[in-house]
Subunit: 122 residues, 2 copies
C-alpha cells in the first residue's frame, strides 16, 4: 500500500515507526480486518502523517508509519484499542517482529501518482 | 527478506535508509538479478548493518537498509556500480519511489529466528 506518501508529507524532520514482522499462518481473515482497522484508526490520530506497507508471499512484511512528533507516537502507542490489537498480534499473528522509531532527516523521491484504489487499500 | 535484523544490530543510534517503490511490469528477471547483486554488494560496504525488504503482489515494496553512520550512507550512495544500477532502476524498473534517511533512536522486538534460507534470500 502506498498513499503517495512523499508528496503529501511535510518537509523533514518528522518521525518514522518501522515495523518489520513475520506473519504466522494463523487466521488471515481476522488479521486482515484488524490491520485495516488499525490503519483507519491511525489516520484519525493527531500527528499522523501517513503509512506505507508491503508484505511478500513469504509472510515477511514492513509497515512504516509517519508522525509529526514523538508525542504523537506515544499517544498512538497508548491508544487503548491499538494496544489491545497489538497484544493480540504479538500473541497470534506474528512469529517475530522488530520495531524501530527513527527521525527522518532527509527525504526525496518521485512518488507514484495516487489512485483511489491505492489510496483506499488497507 | 529478513536477516533477523534486530538481534544482529548494535544499539541505537544508527541510520536507516527507507526506500519505498512501485515496480513497473518491466523485466522482472533483470530486476531480480540486479536487486540481489545490490544486496550482496551492500553487505561488503563499510558501515553496513543489515537490510530488510518486502514487496507485495501489487508491486509496491519497502526496503530498509541500516548503516552505522551518515558517512557510510554517503559512500554507498556514491559507489559506482550502485549508482549505475540505481539509475537503471529509476529509468526502467520503478514507476515511482520515495527515499528517506532517518536516524534510529529506539529499537525493540522479538526477532524471527534466522534460518539459512531466510538469511540467504536476496
Amino acid at each position: 500500500m502506498s498513499e503517495n506518501a512523499l508528496s503529501s508529507m511535510p518537509r523533514p524532520p518528522y518521525y518514522a515507526v518501522i515495523f518489520s514482522s513475520q506473519r504466522t499462518a494463523h487466521d488471515d481473515a481476522a488479521y486482515g480486518a484488524a490491520a485495516q482497522r488499525m490503519v483507519e484508526l491511525a489516520r484519525t490520530q493527531p500527528g499522523f502523517l501517513g503509512v506505507e506497507s508491503a508484505r511478500g508471499a513469504d509472510g515477511f512484511g514492513i509497515t512504516v508509519s509517519y508522525w509529526d512528533s514523538e508525542d504523537a507516537i506515544a499517544a498512538w502507542r497508548n491508544h487503548a484499542e491499538h494496544a489491545a490489537t497489538r497484544e493480540r498480534g504479538r500473541r497470534e499473528w506474528y512469529a517475530g517482529f522488530d520495531l524501530r522509531v527513527a527521525k527522518v532527516e532527509r527525504a526525496y523521491g518521485r512518488s507514484v501518482p495516487a489512485t483511489p484504489a491505492r489510496a483506499d487499500a488497507p
